[in-house]
Symmetry: C2
Subunit: 419 residues, 2 copies
């Protein structure tokens, strides 16, 4: 069975000057991968006629499917539609169902109390050589073209619009058209050990992996994700992945967090939900980021009661009941303070577990004794508390993220141990 390959072309100057981070490509790649399409190339080009044209030429030589996002807006910097029209030898015609949809959106969804502008009407024009893919969530429709046996799909760059068109049309359409080889993945998450040492622990096993199974190391936030990918006939791939994954889990055992491709906040959420326990956080330096990570998970209201973000010391005292004497003698970033914060939040929120953090995230506020990156974390229940001092060496945003992930991991270990 031949591999079905795809290229992703993203269009827009904003991608090339770094004004926006491209999250579309990762999402699209994930979806394509799930149905067995191998994304082999991703390209970003500006709103420049020749560059877009050349990208279409090059990628259609490389791949079976070319997905294009961006450049379809109603404003003058968006040149993708006229270009596609010319590239595929078509001419622009009004697409009535799209025009009705655009009219409907402006009237009932955007609720704009004025007649449709010409530039909005033109959103409903499409090349007469394309198949229109309805965009439920926006005005610019998706467009499907074919040329020399390759298919080209153009979608808007707005993430939720592109996602809607992919889910409503593109994924089905690809699966109907192609018979794909199976792509299987197994992913596990480890914490507490670096990439090199993990590699060392599993090297004998890694060396004899069958050639159709690939191993990837994906380090992030001081944790390492290990991913096995297999491409071959489905039963063979799945069986072999199961067998190798079972061996891998044994090899990394003491550092294994979870044998699924989920995040640390999801892991902790699952544990709490399974045990029927509740959690609260008292956050100083993370400013609510731990609570945010926890509540990003749908259904987290089952186990998360809330948080006090005590950014100012007066809140630590007046709301969390940290003693003035503690703040004065040990300081806000200390074992004593986070321990009292943890106790304080348990008393306020009446949860089974609580996390408390306080630290110096930078770039300012560091001292010789407590330099930027110093953080104290306390986790526990009403019976016992564990506190730990960590030190991060990064920028403010990453220090906050690392503090949050480490706090969640400490809680995970605490729950595991106390079971």
């Amino acid at each position: 069975m031949t591999k079905i390959t795809a290229s992703i072309i993203t269009i827009g100057d904003e991608l090339l000057i770094g004004q926006v981070v491209d999250t579309n490509s990762a999402w699209m790649a994930q979806q394509l991968n799930n149905i067995g399409v191998w994304v082999q190339h991703r390209v970003a080009v500006g709103d420049v006629w020749d560059d877009i044209w050349q990208a279409l030429d090059e990628e259609s030589k490389r791949s079976d499917i070319i997905l294009i996002t961006g450049g379809l807006g109603p404003t003058a910097d968006d040149i993708t539609k006229p270009l596609l029209c010319k590239y595929f030898d078509g001419k622009l015609v009004m697409h009535e169902p799209t025009l009705q949809h655009v009219t409907y959106l402006f009237e009932y969804v955007f609720k704009r109390p004025m007649p449709l502008l010409d530039r909005n009407r033109r959103q409903a024009e499409v090349p007469d050589v394309c198949t229109v893919l309805k965009n439920e969530k926006g005005t610019a429709p998706g467009m499907l073209f074919e040329k020399n046996g390759k298919i080209f799909i153009s979608m808007p760059g707005v993430p939720h619009e592109m996602q809607g068109i992919m889910q409503d049309h593109v994924l089905d359409l690809i699966q109907q058209r192609y018979t794909m080889p199976h792509i299987g993945h197994r992913t596990l998450l480890t914490a507490g050990q670096g990439e090199s040492m993990l590699a060392e622990m599993i090297k004998d096993w890694e060396e004899v992996l069958p050639s159709f199974i690939k191993l990837a190391y994906l380090p992030n936030y001081g944790m390492v994700r290990l991913r096995l990918t297999g491409t071959e006939e489905k039963d063979l791939v799945e069986q072999e992945l199961d067998r190798q994954f079972a061996q891998l889990k044994v090899l990394v055992k003491e550092y294994l967090v979870v044998d699924e491709d989920i995040t640390m906040n999801e892991v902790v959420g699952k544990m709490l939900k399974a045990a029927g326990k509740t959690l609260a956080t008292a956050e100083s330096c993370t400013g609510g980021y731990i609570a945010h990570l926890i509540t990003l998970v749908p259904g987290s209201s089952l186990y998360f009661k809330g948080s006090v973000v005590s950014y100012d010391n007066s809140i630590k005292k007046n709301v969390l009941n940290v003693q003035s004497a503690t703040l004065e003698s040990a300081g806000a970033v200390s074992k004593e303070t986070v321990t009292e914060m943890q106790k304080g939040i348990l008393n306020i929120m009446h949860t089974d577990y609580a996390i408390a953090v306080s630290g110096v995230m930078g770039p300012d506020g560091g001292t010789a004794e407590k330099p930027v990156g110093t953080v104290w974390i306390a986790v526990g229940d009403s019976q016992s508390v564990e506190a730990k001092k960590l030190h991060f060496r990064f920028d403010r945003k990453r220090n906050i993220e690392l503090t949050a992930i480490n706090a969640l991991n400490m809680l995970r270990l605490f729950i595991k141990k106390s079971k």
Copy 2:
């Protein structure tokens, strides 16, 4: 003056299966743009020998500078270094200063109580045809190659390591080597009006923009950023940008948030700081995300006191003092509840302003009366409160983000009005 152009090649299967979002390219593009380098092409390829080789060939035909990230780790899936060695006809040799640095990192920074592994020692091997660029923050050094008048710079994919090498070496090196044309930008942020209507408001002005000035519309979170970019001789560009930008500001006046390229949370932070006022938040559905956005800004402790995340109704009652009768009659997602939350958090935190939000973020929890995406926001001071109901149509994460941005914008308008 000729334009100096760059291509960015990112290497790694994780980028092509969508397991990680590429944030490096945006950061690199921003930095290059600032010094006048025009990034015209970005490519992502997998850990595949032929694909990397071809990308090097293609991009070196296209651009003066080729920046490469990823594929330099200590594990078997990382093939970039041997490939570069072959591509540039070199052989791998041990680079003693790098070996010393790697040894130092393992001993004093990572604090690993065991001898260096072979695979870590090999991190210090480099092709003898490259110039080594020290990586202060990690083990894999940057490498500079030259071929046919083009320069190639390979860096690790770990964001803070890549950033360190760019700042310590690459940006200087490029500025020393090339005389670059000036690239200037002016960016402003608008809120409250869509892309099409803005385009309509400014179209006469846009039509007569000089050819060396480009306008881009960058919609995000219901706001639109407008960016002018000019490339030409410096004085000319800067003068013309100032002139056009002044006109643009007048044209969008009523929707103008700020005439800088900063975020809504930075705008609000600046206003609070300038006025010497303080803020607290009471968050239900956003779960701490508003507090997180505010505290991402360095120095926010000057004006942000803290937050109560009242995810559970018991916290709304017991901590924020929302009346049981209110929750029972009007419900948790109501004008009455957010108004009481706003009052409650003001009483607890004694700030000048407070924000309160409560809503249904999805995917579950919606009712016919209050469907997923319904959110109530209250902002105000101790004298007056304004509450507003909004409705978002997206996924959980985006609904949370939009709620936060809208709440901050409401506060901004409230502060502006009450001045």
